[in-house]
């Protein structure tokens, strides 16, 4: 069968509050730590929703595509990730159709 690209896979996810232009991010990442002292930048490959990108050596984070798996909270051992659950009203996050 055809293998899906990550963007196609994330296209199948039902995100909450999509109609809202602004939402409260539920994860805060201190990318200064990622880009200065972190020896591995591992979230850039571990995050299954590719929320952490590496562009020309610089780690960037966006929370829009987050599927609330929690992996960055454990994978980051540098104290850069402050993780919380999204607010049901003004946050992002997922509603699974199958789960």
């Amino acid at each position: 069968m055809k293998l899906l690209k990550l963007t196609e896979r994330l296209g199948l996810v039902s995100y909450r509050n999509q109609s809202k232009t602004e939402f409260k991010p539920h994860i805060i990442v201190d990318t200064d730590i990622c880009n200065t002292t972190c020896p591995h930048k591992c979230t850039t490959w571990i995050c299954p929703a590719y929320c952490y990108t590496l562009e020309e050596g610089i780690v960037r984070f966006q929370v829009e595509d987050c599927i609330e798996c929690g992996s960055c909270m454990y994978a980051c051992d540098q104290g850069a990730v402050t993780w919380n659950y999204p607010d049901p009203e003004i946050g992002r996050g997922v509603t699974w159709n199958f789960g």
Binding site: T95, F98, G99
Partner: protein, 443 residues
């Protein structure tokens, strides 16, 4: 405090709903809060719910063929995998067709929602039909503590009070950390990421391909090549007209062996294995999901399962284990939820929700199969995560299989010779003897 509840349950997953059902049946006044749009909306699992505890919560659930579950398991497979081959232990038995079933496959968004409906029915039949609630779209910011005893929850501007709190928040247990039962930072060492696709087929195609009869189903776990050298394994479970296929991958191992170890690429790689590709051909991916799971290593578990006014259940307490036979988590969630709620019922009768009473939960958990299995199979958990079990053994088994099942028009070596050849290529007799000794003690 007129409006005070006997108990607040945080989280509408299997553990929280099992607790809520037990509270309702015992005429307790409680509030269950769920941060998703409905119970199950945020929940992901592999997922097979093993064992027959579900029949305790929903008697004769199998009569409800349109209920929340997908298929019952009567066919189990454990597959060892190298790059080109698979060697599978395959067990199917009519015995497993009997109710209560040995396990059912579930999709949590549907299953948990269905189970929540059953809990609501139990509430409606209880003395507190108008005073117990399942409330969705509520995220708990903190457990309110007074003199180190839980007295309620805070959610946005609102506060709700209760004599006790059951934390069933799942593996990403922020509130468990807030109340001091778990360290603020939990390292990646014994945590894994589960990543999964739900793939849809024409139901007839699915049933024919996997030899399913009526609502029977198949579970298949994979060891070896599936994980691209990362500790973990693969799974494939049959639902009604979809399959759940995915991987569980160690987070520390991903960190140490990357870059170029993206879980979604490893999943695609797994899907291209000739055996897997044949199983999923023609399907359409309808959902992609991921969630952290704990490994069953007791070193990661919270310091205690209770404190004044608080009980921990399910994955919030890292109650999940794969000791080689099955990935068990939802059944541990269910049993711990039931036992926690029963402890709260006793606490109410005594009028004491302090640790003095709630420690009873620890005792009944220790006496239950959940803690007995977790304690008895720690060595098996460690063994499964060794390089020998993850790589060498699957390669060796597949090498042997290739020799054994190849029929050439030339003299055939004796089986022992084939086995020795495979052992020599991938391991050594000494290593296998050590492994066998460890396996005998641990499994």
């Amino acid at each position: 405090m007129e409006d005070k509840f006997d108990c607040i349950v945080i989280g509408g997953g299997v553990a929280g709903l099992a607790a809520a059902m037990t509270l309702a049946r015992n005429n307790m006044k409680f509030l269950l809060v769920e941060r998703g749009e409905f119970a199950g909306a945020k929940n992901v699992s592999g997922g097979v719910l093993w064992g027959d505890d579900l029949a305790k919560l929903v008697p004769n659930y199998w009569e409800e063929t349109d209920g929340g579950w997908e298929r019952f398991i009567n066919h189990r497979r454990l597959t060892f995998m190298d790059e080109q081959s698979t060697f599978t232990l395959d067990f199917k038995s009519k015995h497993f067709n009997e109710t209560p079933y040995n396990g059912v496959v579930v999709l949590r968004s549907k299953f948990d929602n269905w189970l929540a409906g059953k809990v609501q029915e139990a509430i409606d039949a209880s003395d507190f039909a108008m005073d117990s609630f399942i409330a969705t779209d509520i995220k708990v910011d903190e457990v309110i503590m007074e003199n180190d005893k839980a007295v309620g929850i805070k959610t946005g501007e609102d506060e709700f009070f209760a004599d006790s709190v059951i934390i069933a928040e799942g593996v990403n247990n922020l509130l468990t950390r807030q109340v001091g039962l778990q360290d603020k930072y939990v390292p990646a060492d014994h945590m894994l990421i589960g990543i999964k696709e739900v793939i849809r087929f024409d139901q007839k195609v699915l049933e024919d391909r996997f030899q399913l009869n009526g609502l029977s189903g198949m579970s298949n776990e994979f060891v070896g090549w599936a994980t691209d050298g990362i500790e973990g394994g693969g799974f494939l479970y049959t639902n009604r007209d979809t399959i759940s296929i995915g991987l569980v991958l160690g987070l520390k191992d991903l960190r140490e062996k990357g870059p170029n170890k993206e879980p979604y690429h490893i999943l695609n790689r797994f899907k291209t294995h000739p055996t897997v590709a044949d199983a999923i051909r023609g399907g359409e991916v309808v959902e992609y999901s991921a969630h952290v799971v704990s490994s069953g290593d007791s070193r990661v578990m919270p310091k205690e399962l209770y404190k004044d006014g608080i009980l921990l259940v399910g994955e919030a307490a890292n109650l999940l284990m794969n000791a080689g036979k099955a990935i068990q988590g939802m059944d541990y969630a269910m049993r711990s939820g039931i036992l926690a709620a029963e402890t709260i019922v006793k606490a109410k009768a005594k009028g004491d929700y302090s640790s003095a009473t709630l420690k009873e939960y620890r005792k009944v958990m220790d006496e239950s199969y959940v803690m007995k299995d977790i304690n008895n199979f720690q060595d098996a958990v460690h063994l499964l995560h060794t390089d020998t079990m993850q790589k060498k053994v699957p390669n060796l088994i597949c090498d042997f299989g290739r020799q054994f099942f190849s029929i050439k028009n030339e003299p055939t070596p004796k089986t022992e010779k084939m086995l020795l050849r495979a052992i020599k290529r991938h391991s050594s007799l000494w290593e296998l003897a050590k492994l066998g000794f460890k396996a005998r003690k641990s499994l």
